[in-house]
């Protein structure tokens, strides 16, 4: 087995037959309750008019971003990013604020309304099966895929594999590997025959949104401190000025009669 430094999936939308073996495998492997799922099918389904039709199916779950918005949006550090790929969620830290749900551009974290308060596990999402990958197994969804629409491996190998497929079959794919650069890169790479937006994937900049906000946030303290200094300076100036004014006023009093006081 090749050493995996950065676990990743490659999903090929042209190969997916929407059989849902991945969904069942995930449900069983991770003991997901019967009314929940960590994988779902996105995309427009069948489009066009009879008989000119096409099908657009995508297996959707956590993208395991290199720069996870859930993590940067979480006020209590319930999320962490493993160096080798998986974005992990710690239910013991979570306070159920749902900031991660708003932050994630892929709409991945799901709030567990009926279990949250009892079990303390507020959020449910794909974990990349650490219990499997850490002992050299493939994630449950990948292991069972009958058409190899999902494959798993080292991130750099899969990026190369994806580009090789595009090169080998001109016209079959959109010439882009989604997730190679989107949002700073994701561990879920996607090949498609239709525009990625039709698969329900957002159009994201290479520079992740949270990096932009973080770059702003990073200067907030120095900015605040310097602003505080300025304000302090201003306040001091104003104070001095007021003192001055008071002194001048007193000086003036000595020259002017004060009719009210003298009355």
């Amino acid at each position: 087995m090749t050493e995996i430094n950065h676990h990743a999936f490659l999903f090929d939308a042209t190969r997916c037959i929407d059989c849902r073996a991945c969904m069942v495998a995930c449900s069983v492997e991770n003991k997901i309750p019967m009314n929940k799922t960590r994988i779902w099918v996105a995309g427009l389904g069948i489009t066009g008019e009879f008989p000119n039709l096409q099908r657009e199916t995508m297996v959707y779950h956590c993208m395991h971003c290199n720069a996870p918005d859930c993590l940067s949006g979480c006020p209590v550090g319930a999320y962490s990013k493993r160096d080798d790929g998986p974005v992990e969620y710690d239910k013991n830290r979570c306070i159920g604020c749902r900031y991660c749900m708003n932050a994630c551009p892929f709409g991945v974290p799901h709030f567990d309304f009926d279990k949250g308060l009892v079990d303390g596990a507020f959020i449910d999402k794909c974990t990349l099966c650490p219990q499997r990958i850490d002992i050299g197994l493939e994630p449950a969804c990948v292991a069972t895929c009958p058409t190899d629409a999902l494959v798993y491996g080292e991130w750099t190998d899969l990026v190369k594999e994806a580009h090789d497929r595009i090169a080998a079959h001109p016209g079959r794919y959109i010439d882009h590997v989604y997730g190679e650069t989107e949002n700073g890169g994701t561990s879920y790479l996607i090949l498609s025959h239709v525009p990625f937006s039709e698969l329900g994937l957002p159009n994201l900049p290479e520079n992740p949104i949270n990096k932009v906000s973080e770059s702003v946030m990073e200067i907030t303290i120095p900015f605040a401190l310097s602003w505080a200094a300025v304000l302090t300076g201003v306040a001091a100036g104003v104070h001095m000025n007021n003192k001055k004014k008071e002194a001048n006023a007193k000086e003036a009093e000595t020259y002017d009669e004060k009719p009210e006081e003298t009355k």
Partner: protein, 726 residues
């Protein structure tokens, strides 16, 4: 008698499997090897046990992850040629069949009226005695032929048949005439093989005639076809619906239902008229080279255009593409081919096109006739010869259907003969692992046939509809809880073994049939002590120990020496495009066009076809599959629905000549305007199925019974329906 796996056995198994792994027994590293390397098999008996799936008849190899005596996950066995490490959604869900809260876990004896679902728990002793006494009573009063036996494709089918033939009844109902009679009869008559195997390694051009391979999944074959398409093989697909297979095809041709054979005959016409066939192969191996040009002369692409609705130029082009790719071109024989009365001719045309491609039996050819019989090369317990059968078969084979192979039979005809009592009245029915109430066309008739019975006994793992209407229900152990006979696949003999102990009092059918056989005085036909003893007898010629097979999951079979010379098991020893046998029976010796009926104005063809998440009539109660299946709705072309003022997801009433159902509508672009479609297997009657009861509607209620006189195949798409707002 023991058929349970004790905790000690688990321990033994764990160690043995670990040892086998250490010895390098596992070749392709996927789940299994990695798990072993990781030391997942521990002394507490937690680990992986190899066995075989039974969620459909493809029988993938599996590795069951067991923790503390419970199955927690199923993985595809990388070493099994049918799974190669993968399982389909049904295979992945298999453990929910075992852990279905609606399992029948003790023998049950009916106490209320038939169909009321009132049963009392009974002991095995009492239930088996009751069944044996009833069967013997019927035998004494009416003769053994008054007992009907029916079962569906399963690994203990041979033991079931053993009991039936030893009992002396010729009346046997299988699923075959509802499924693949047309395909098998046609290929037996043309090639002398039942179902040639497909090979996608070198294929460049594939034509699927309604074979929805991406939804009616056979894991390894679906995977091979998918990979062939990935590497650039051209896939052309005929189907009135835009299925998931259609979306993988280079060309989807929404052909008019019932006209596949016209399309194929026109392809043959183009190939023989323009001399595009593999002449060398054809001359050497085919009967009918001389006359075929004349026989096909009237089937021009222009003729076919009028019938099929497919432009003549398209048919001509596809025929030429097919011929240009030979011998790496393939027309898939199909699977459930019970569509129209002319489906037999469709299959004959498919067999012909493959012969013209020269793909048959050439090295690496796309079609191979070398399919070994189940159980070939294995041992079997000794048994006396069966008694002579003297009665006519109620299903009309062969006296009414001379060309239907005896092992296939005509189930729907058997059911009708039970109702009419002609040529004689049947009185008892023993059913194992089959659900004829839902699988046979025209459910009302099937219920009527049940009403004619003095006694009905059913073996199943859940309270399916047939069990619900039975007098005695025997609980079978699920496929994860029992042994079944060993099955050779591609040079290896694979085992199905219990990975957990049976729940309740459930037992294997190897045990049940033997117990019943002994009570019927037929003990000599069941000469094995228990399941393990039966398996040991099977393994004798291979000289391997059962323990080894249990640990590894399979035993290696000796090399097959018969490969080499190409022979076809037909009267001429060649491929018979022209068949004397058919001619002598009064049918057309050439593949020929038979006009199918068409729906009246305002009516639709009722199509049925598989979804990837369900198998036939037995998995709808599986909660995991229920969770990930779409709601079964009536597909109707969206434009047609709009014209008729029907809205998506509203309730509609669907009516045929024999029945009526209510179902929600799916208005979709993915179907021809003259068709509607239903997913089969829904609309269960049994209230003992808490997940499936009341969900969807049954296509069997609507299906009219039509039987092809040549193959005995039921014509399921020949039912026409009207649809209105419910």
């Amino acid at each position: 008698m023991t058929n349970t796996l004790s905790r000690r056995d688990f321990l033994k198994l764990g160690t043995a499997t670990a040892a086998a792994a250490a010895a390098g027994g596992w070749i392709q590293p996927r789940a299994a090897r990695a798990a072993r390397e990781a030391g997942l098999l521990d002394a507490a008996g937690n680990g992986y046990i190899p066995s075989m799936c039974e969620m459909c008849v493809w029988r993938c190899g599996l590795l069951a992850r067991v923790e503390d005596g419970r199955v927690v996950k199923l993985e595809g066995n990388p070493e099994h040629p049918h799974s190669r490490g993968n399982l389909c959604p049904r295979g992945q869900s298999g453990l929910m069949n075992t852990y279905d809260p609606d399992r029948v876990l003790t023998p049950l004896i009916r106490v209320g009226k038939r169909g009321d679902g009132l049963f009392r728990k009974a002991s095995w002793e009492e239930s088996l005695d009751l069944i044996a006494n009833k069967m013997l009573e019927i035998k004494t009063r009416y003769g053994p032929e008054a007992m009907v036996f029916s079962t569906t494709h399963c690994l203990t089918q041979q033991q079931f048949e053993n009991m039936m033939y030893a009992f002396g009844s010729p009346n046997y109902g299988t699923q075959r005439s509802l499924c693949f009679n047309a395909m098998i009869t046609a290929f037996l008559l043309t090639y002398g093989v039942e179902e040639p195997a497909r090979n996608y390694n070198n294929v460049d051009f594939i034509l699927l005639v309604g074979r929805n391979m991406m939804e009616a999944i056979s894991t390894s074959e679906t995977s091979e076809l998918s990979h062939a398409v990935d590497r650039g093989a051209k896939l052309v697909y005929l189907d009135p619906r835009y299925t998931k297979t259609a979306s993988r095809a280079a060309e989807w041709i929404p052909i008019r239902p019932g006209t596949d054979s016209a399309f194929l005959l026109a392809m043959i016409n183009v190939i023989v008229t323009n001399e595009l066939a593999d002449c060398e192969f054809v001359k050497k191996y085919v009967v009918g080279c001389d006359g075929i040009k004349d026989a096909m002369s009237r089937y021009t692409p222009e003729w076919a255009e009028k019938i099929t609705g497919v432009p003549a130029a398209t048919i001509d082009r596809i025929a030429r593409e097919y011929a240009a790719a030979r011998p790496n071109s393939l027309v898939h024989p199909g699977w459930r081919t019970s569509n129209f009365l002319n489906s037999f001719q469709t299959e004959r045309a498919i067999a012909t096109l493959n012969a013209l491609s020269g793909n048959v039996l050439t090295p690496g050819g796309c079609l191979s006739a070398e399919v070994a019989a189940e159980g070939a090369g294995l041992g079997a317990p000794p048994q006396p010869p069966y008694p002579r059968l003297s009665a006519l078969r109620l299903d009309g084979t062969p006296w009414k259907y001379p060309l239907v192979p005896l092992k296939l039979g005509v189930f729907q005809e058997l059911r009708d003969a039970i109702i009419t009592g002609q040529p004689y009245q049947a009185h008892g029915w023993f059913i194992s692992r089959q659900n004829p109430i839902l699988s046979l066309p025209d459910r009302n008739k099937t219920l009527q046939a049940f009403g004619k019975m003095d006694f009905i006994a059913t073996v199943d793992i859940i309270m399916n509809d047939t069990a619900w209407f039975s007098d005695v229900v025997l609980p079978e152990a699920s496929y994860l809880e029992r042994y079944d006979p060993i099955l050779p696949v591609e040079g290896k003999a694979f085992i199905r073994q219990p990975v957990i102990e049976p729940q309740g009092e459930a037992k294997s059918t190897l045990w049940i049939y033997k117990q019943l056989g002994e009570r019927l005085g037929l003990g000599d036909y069941f000469q094995y002590d228990d399941e393990e003893d039966y398996l040991r007898t099977q393994l004798k010629p291979l000289a391997v120990d059962l323990e080894e097979v249990k640990a590894l999951g399979y035993a290696k079979m000796p090399e097959d020496e018969t490969k080499g010379e190409i022979t076809f098991n037909t009267p001429s020893g060649k491929i018979e495009i022209y068949s004397e046998t058919l001619k002598n029976a009064g049918f057309s010796p050439w593949p020929t066009w038979e006009e199918p009926p068409v729906p009246a104005e305002g009516e639709f063809f009722l199509l049925t076809g598989k979804v990837a998440q369900q198998t036939q009539f037995g998995t709808q109660n599986n909660q995991l599959l229920h969770k990930y299946s779409d709601e079964p709705r009536l597909w109707m072309n969206a434009s047609v629905a709009e014209e008729r003022g029907l809205r998506d997801s509203e309730w509609v009433e669907v009516t045929s000549n024999v029945g009526k159902v209510h179902i929600r509508l799916l208005a979709t672009q993915a179907i021809r305007p003259d068709c509607v479609y239903m997913t089969p297997g829904y609309g269960h009657l049994s209230r003992g199925l808490k997940t499936a009861y009341g969900w969807g509607a049954s296509d069997s209620v609507l299906h009219v019974t039509y039987t092809d006189p040549i193959s005995g195949s039921q014509a399921l798409s020949q039912t026409f329906v009207s649809v209105k707002k419910a």
